[in-house]
Assembly symmetry: C2
Homo-oligomer: 111 residues x 2
């Protein structure tokens, strides 16, 4: 794992690390066509705040914004999350570690 890919992965994760951004992504996934300012109404935050979240998502490369006349058409770039999925998928290699209490049912840990 190069420091580069580490940074990239953490930036991908950061894009998902906010409820508002999760909602935006879901909204994009659900909406059949293009969507612009309707996002503001659906999310319930100020227009400038939503724009900022969209900027973050775009900077992370997980959405793209196409200018479509007076508005903008946002679309998911689902492939962008592949590295993150892969990373998660490679983690459970160690499910036979010495003292895992119960990986399949970790109800109580010493929080």
């Amino acid at each position: 794992m190069t420091p580069d890919s580490e940074t990239h992965l953490s930036e991908l994760a950061k894009a998902l690390a906010h409820p508002a951004r999760l909602r935006i992504l879901q909204l994009l996934a659900r909406t059949p066509g293009c969507i612009g300012g309707d996002i503001v109404g659906a999310i319930g935050l100020a227009q400038s705040t939503v724009s900022e979240h969209l900027r973050i998502l775009k900077a992370a490369g997980v959405i793209s914004g196409e200018i479509d006349g007076p508005r903008i058409c946002y679309a998911l770039a689902p492939q962008a999350f592949a590295p993150l999925s892969q990373f998660i998928a490679t983690l459970p290699l160690a499910d036979d570690t010495c003292c895992t209490p119960s990986p399949t049912m970790p109800e109580k840990d010493l929080t």
Copy 2:
């Protein structure tokens, strides 16, 4: 999607949203047995900083810490990431949206 699960997902993502924590998770995944303070040496941060990252990971439920004599045995809880993987997996539903430039090859977007 309940507000609850939104929060939970964003917290899972936040656990991954830092290079040091990614490195810790990888280290845990790679290490055959238990591991305690060796993490500090491997990560290259101060002991208190590493301890804080471990606390965050534990709070997110993605690792568990078992007291093992004078040290602590940390172990992954790989299942913890399942909700996040699922969320990502459900996103590409909209790959037929009106104006996706090219979901399979989004080389250039209007960054």
